[in-house]
């Protein structure tokens, strides 16, 4: 049974069409890996799925209902990891993750497990400003895990992670899928989890095909 159904989606950035007529569907326990050249529209697609960028055309359905009809319910279903980590440098790791849960109006009971999943226990009370790039990325991932959402939208989650942390991410993803979750991840490296499908975003119009800016 497919939970997520995307039909005929099209988006433009700065007046340029980025992709057109994109359709796919995703069922419980499945991961969709978005790949493709730089500039092919992976980030744009993720933002469009989160309704952050308005789509030009097409529709997104969740269990048969258009997600734009009840935006707040939809937002409750998704957890977001962007190019930027979305962490506050002046707060500690734990505070960051806990605040994110509060902002979703949820409890903080999953926070400790999420921190542990990314070996953040010893760093939990360090302020994020003093972390290295990969440590921050792990904190951002812990935030996604702690959110307890059905659908994870991840933009290059492997960026800056060392090998053990990549394995931790894979384990977390595997568990999320095993418990009936869904995930869509833009990535340039293969994510080896079971039930992974790949969507190759091909850039027509090619990403470098444009000429002069006005």
């Amino acid at each position: 049974m497919t939970d997520l159904e995307v039909t005929g989606l099209g988006c433009r950035r700065g007046g340029r069409p980025v992709f057109r007529d994109l359709s796919f569907s995703l069922a419980k326990g499945e991961l969709l890996a978005l790949t493709g050249r730089n500039g092919s529209g992976k980030t744009t697609l993720l933002r469009a799925l989160a309704l952050l960028v308005p789509a030009d055309a097409g529709a997104i359905h969740w269990q048969g209902a258009d997600v734009a009809a009840d935006r707040e319910a939809w937002r409750r279903r998704i957890a977001w990891l962007g190019h930027l980590d979305g962490l506050k440098g002046d707060l500690t790791v734990r505070e960051n993750v806990a605040t994110a849960c509060h902002l979703r109006e949820e409890g903080t009971e999953r926070v400790d497990a999420a921190l542990a999943a990314f070996e953040l226990g010893p760093l939990a009370s360090r302020s994020v400003r003093t972390l290295s790039a990969g440590q921050r990325r792990r904190a951002a991932l812990a935030r996604v895990v702690a959110a307890g959402a059905r659908l994870w939208l991840l933009d290059e989650p492997l960026n800056a992670l060392d090998a053990p942390s990549q394995a931790a991410l894979r384990a977390a993803l595997g568990q999320h899928l095993a418990t009936g979750g869904l995930a869509i991840a833009a990535t340039h490296a293969p994510i080896d989890v079971p039930n992974a499908r790949t969507l190759l975003m091909d850039s027509s119009p090619p990403p470098g095909g444009e000429e002069h800016e006005p």
Binding site: A50, L52, V53, R76, D85, H102, E105
Partner: protein, 221 residues
């Protein structure tokens, strides 16, 4: 905990971690007001006459000076996306952020201003009027400035553009705020002014959160 409370608590905690930021705004206010007696000379009558206007203007500038990072910090570190994706109305988030701003600038300014008024030789009643009008008027400034801050996200030269957008909209608040203090000095009652200020604040409260939320959604695209 509701999302509104959580956001408010987060922003207050962030300020608490860097108390210096609030101090700078207050210091700016003090320096700006002290400058006038220094520049104009020690004529007490003249100073008392212009005190209300100067103090209100200085408060306005101090508030604006601290506003430009209100949403910009969240925009630049990606936290704005999380607010846009929070499962409760963005209008409430806008309100929470403006409220946090008011608590850490408007409120301290309202407390500090009467002390500065002493330097200008304001009467006791005038001092009370100054503090009260700032207390009632600054929420409108926080909201108007919040709108300007949201509109200028992603635009360059944010600070100055923000001020250009916000200042004309702040004029009514300024006029009635300073007017109230002067009304006291000239023997008039200032309750009418206070009521009008309250009305302005309510008007802002009733309209601006929507405008701010709309502007934030734009920025997230």
């Amino acid at each position: 905990m509701s999302g509104f409370t959580a956001l408010l608590a987060r922003d207050l905690r962030l300020v608490w971690r860097r108390p210096g930021d609030v101090m700078v705004v207050l210091a700016f206010f003090v320096v700006a007001t002290v400058l006038f007696p220094l520049g104009i000379g020690p004529e007490t009558n003249l100073l008392a006459r212009i005190a209300a206007g100067i103090l209100w203007c200085a408060a306005l500038f101090a508030a604006l000076l601290s506003l430009d990072r209100l949403f910009a910090a969240d925009y630049e570190d990606g936290a704005l996306d999380l607010l846009l994706l929070a499962p409760w109305p963005l209008e409430l988030a806008a309100l929470a952020k403006c409220l946090a701003h008011w608590i850490v600038t408007g409120l301290p300014l309202a407390v500090l201003a009467p002390f500065m008024g002493l330097l200008f030789g304001l009467s006791g009643e005038g001092l009370a009027a100054l503090g009260l009008t700032l207390l009632v008027g600054t929420p409108a400034l926080s909201l108007i400035g919040g709108l300007a801050a949201a509109l200028t996200l992603g635009a360059r030269r944010g600070g100055a553009l923000l001020a250009l957008l916000a200042l004309p909209l702040c004029v009514p608040t300024l006029i009635f705020g300073a007017g109230a203090v002067e009304a006291v000095a000239t023997g008039g009652g200032f309750l009418t002014h206070l009521a009008i200020l309250g009305a302005l604040a309510l008007l802002s409260l009733a309209t601006l959160p929507w405008a701010i939320a709309a502007a934030l959604r734009q920025a997230g695209e």
